[in-house]
C-alpha cells in the first residue's frame, strides 16, 4: 500500500482540500494568508510539486486549475502515525496512544468511544 508522507506545507494544503474540494490556488492562498504571511507563488509552487508527487490532481477550469487531494485524510494520518510509531515508539502503540491522549483534554464522548473500542478488543481477546 502506497505511503503518503507529505511535508508540513503539503499537509497544510491537504487539510484545506479535505475540508473543501476542489479548490484553486487562489482559494487556498486566501485561506493560508489569514494564518501567516506567504506569497501566492509560494502556494502555487507547493501545489505544482504536489502534483508532480501525485499528492493532488488538477483539472483546468478556465484560466486556472482546480485541485483535489489524492489520498484520503485517514491514509495520510495512518502513514504518518505508523512512521512515528516505528521510529519514536519502537512499535509500542500503547505508549504512543497514551501520549496522544495525555496531551489534550479528551472529552467524555471521546472517552466513551475509547471505552467502546476497548470493549470490542477485550471481548475479542476473551474468545
Amino acid at each position: 500500500m502506497k505511503q503518503f508522507e507529505p511535508s508540513d506545507a503539503e499537509l497544510e494544503i491537504l487539510q484545506l482540500l479535505w475540508a473543501d474540494q476542489p479548490a484553486s490556488v487562489r482559494q487556498l492562498f486566501d485561506q493560508i494568508q489569514h494564518r501567516r504571511k506567504v506569497s501566492y507563488t509560494t502556494v502555487l509552487t507547493v501545489m505544482q510539486r504536489m502534483t508532480d508527487k501525485g499528492l493532488v490532481e488538477r483539472t483546468k477550469e478556465g484560466k486556472a486549475h482546480l485541485y483535489r487531494a489524492v489520498p484520503r485524510e485517514q491514509e495520510v494520518q495512518k502513514s504518518l502515525s505508523q512512521r512515528l510509531l516505528k521510529t519514536a515508539y519502537k512499535g509500542s502503540a500503547l505508549h504512543m496512544a497514551l501520549h496522544a491522549l495525555g496531551q489534550n483534554k479528551v472529552s467524555p464522548e471521546e472517552l466513551a468511544e475509547l471505552q467502546q473500542w476497548l470493549n470490542t478488543q477485550t471481548s475479542t481477546e476473551d474468545e
Copy 2:
C-alpha cells in the same frame, strides 16, 4: 519547554543512546551498520551536528568522544507526537490514539493498562 524534534538519522542515534549510554561513534556505527550500509564518517557527521544542536553531549575519552543523549526518550516522543497531533489530526487525540492502537496488535496487558488509564479519566470526570 524546549521542543526536541530530531530528524530520522538523529532519532536513530538517540534510540541507541537511550538503550546504552554513553557510546562512542565507533560503537554506534557498529550497531547501525548491522541494519544498513553506511559509512563511519556519516555517523560521525550526524553526531557532530547533534552536538551543535544540543541533542547530545560528549566528553573526551582518550582519542575519541563518548556521547550521551540530552533529552529523555519521553520528551522526544512527546514533542513528535504533539506535532503530529496538531498537524495531521487537528488536535483529535482520540483519533490519533485509535490509529496508533489500530495498526499494531495490542497485548492484553496493554489493553489492561489502557483500561486503567480510562478509569482514572472517567472517575475524575465524574467528580
